[in-house]
Amino acid sequence: MSTVLYEPPGPRAKARNRITNILVLVVLVGAVAWLINRMYQNGQFEGRLWRQFQYSSIQQQLVEGLLNTLRAAGLAAVLALLFGAVFAAARISDHKWIRTPATLIVELFRAVPLLILMFYFYFGNIQFQLGLSPFWAVVFGLTLYNGSVLAEIFRAGIAAVPKGQREAAYALGLRKNQVVRLVLLPQAISAMLPAIVSQLVVLLKDTALGFIITYAELLYVGKQMGGRLTYGFPYIPTYIVIALIYIGLCSLLSLLARYLEGRSRRRRKVTGAPPPITEAPDAASGLDPGDKI
């Protein structure tokens, strides 16, 4: 394999790479062994730390936490997609008085840390007794941030459709609404799908911030489970299980994103559709409405 850094290796380089490979593997095995030994020395493999996972009430707690995570992520995903659609439409509007505030809002919510956005609802609720549970603080925070990012993705997707499409549609006498709805969006959506799914992975991961504002999602349940004296404070076993759940869920979504990207690329060869957008346009790449991506 020839890459930009090295040519296909000759016999000497092959031998050298093989030796390096073995050395690296030895070091890696050594490091893992050290870590496992460290866990063993500190009693992390004792039965009582792991036993709790056999009990159905504990399993039920984990499932409940997972469901809470998925509930917040699911609702926030729907709301964020709506928010994104509305603000993307506003940002490509012909009217400056709609475009400018929409741009400001989208830029603002992308610049402010997500946790601070959640704090507005969380502490605002405490101060004004709004009756919002932490669940809503998580959902609204996620909606504002991810909705703004999605608005940018939608806008970039529409802008990425070749200019001729738009011009041809206008030449046929379609109105702007029709051009966007009938010509640009159908082509843009398949190009945007990978980026949208990737953003949903980010959204799913960020539900874990609910832990900080006492929303009983997966990580919060994990802290409670880890803190149980009866089982010898099984923080490490609990976090290993929780990490596996998160990694599994997010990897599945990431695989979906990659599949969609591949499909979009293949289709592009056939139809000349716009290239897939794989991630959110840079948090800061300040594209004005109408810019070509």
Binding site: L5, G226, I236
Partner: protein, 215 residues
């Protein structure tokens, strides 16, 4: 409105100062660690590539809050706890951000067409010359703008440390809540504080994007 800020100035000042320190220290460490991992991912040795890929795939699919929780509550159980909450926070941010720096470095190197280094080798340049004269200067251009995005995300992510008893800017609302101060004004000031830190970075990134755009 101003009294909320002026009456509690030491709280705000110390909070944001800690945020900046967290950001700078973990930024530098992630840059070093992430570049090493990025080098792993483009190396000719399969085991090194495997380590790089595995690390990135695991960390990118793990919530940062979980990394924090593991280092703060889990690591102590293996007597691997870092010396202070500050350094534990730096550890969590570095472990997480390195995965993103690694991806930026890898894709930056991959944007250069192999023809560039083939031509360089054809005129007799050594590996070090190819790397330092041909590959890195071009990769650098492709790396800078996305790297800035990673750092902007890092700055925002420092707020998560607030959930783990690190007294940075994100922890100000909880302290102000105890003092019975107006929460919305507190949050407004914190938002303004973050905008003051982030907006220059955003403009710097846009400038770098224009500067490094390939004509």
């Amino acid at each position: 409105m101003f009294s909320v800020l002026t009456d509690n100035w030491p709280l705000f000042r110390d909070g944001f100062w800690l945020t900046i320190r967290l950001f700078v220290v973990s930024g530098v460490l992630s840059l070093v660690f992430g570049t090493i991992l990025g080098a792993f991912r483009v190396s000719p040795v399969p085991a090194l590539r495997g380590i790089g890929t595995g690390y990135v795939n695991v960390l990118r699919n793990t919530p940062l809050t979980l990394v924090f929780a593991f280092l703060f509550f889990g690591a102590a159980k293996m007597q691997l706890a870092l010396p202070s909450p500050f350094w534990t926070g730096v550890g969590a941010l570095t472990i997480y951000t390195s995965a993103f720096v690694c991806e930026v470095v890898r894709s930056g190197v991959n944007t250069i067409s192999p023809g560039q280094s083939e031509a360089a080798r054809a005129i007799g340049m050594s590996f070090n010359q190819v790397l330092s004269i041909v590959v890195l200067p071009q990769a650098f251009r492709a790396i800078i703008p996305p790297l800035m995005s990673v750092f902007i995300a890092l700055l925002k992510n420092t707020t998560i440390a607030a959930g783990f008893s690190v007294a940075e800017a994100g922890s100000i609302p909880a302290a102000m809540s105890e003092r019975g101060e107006n929460q919305l004004l507190t949050l407004l000031w914190i938002t303004i504080g973050f905008l003051i830190l982030i907006v220059p970075l955003i403009f710097l990134q846009r400038w770098a994007e224009r500067r490094t755009a390939v004509a």
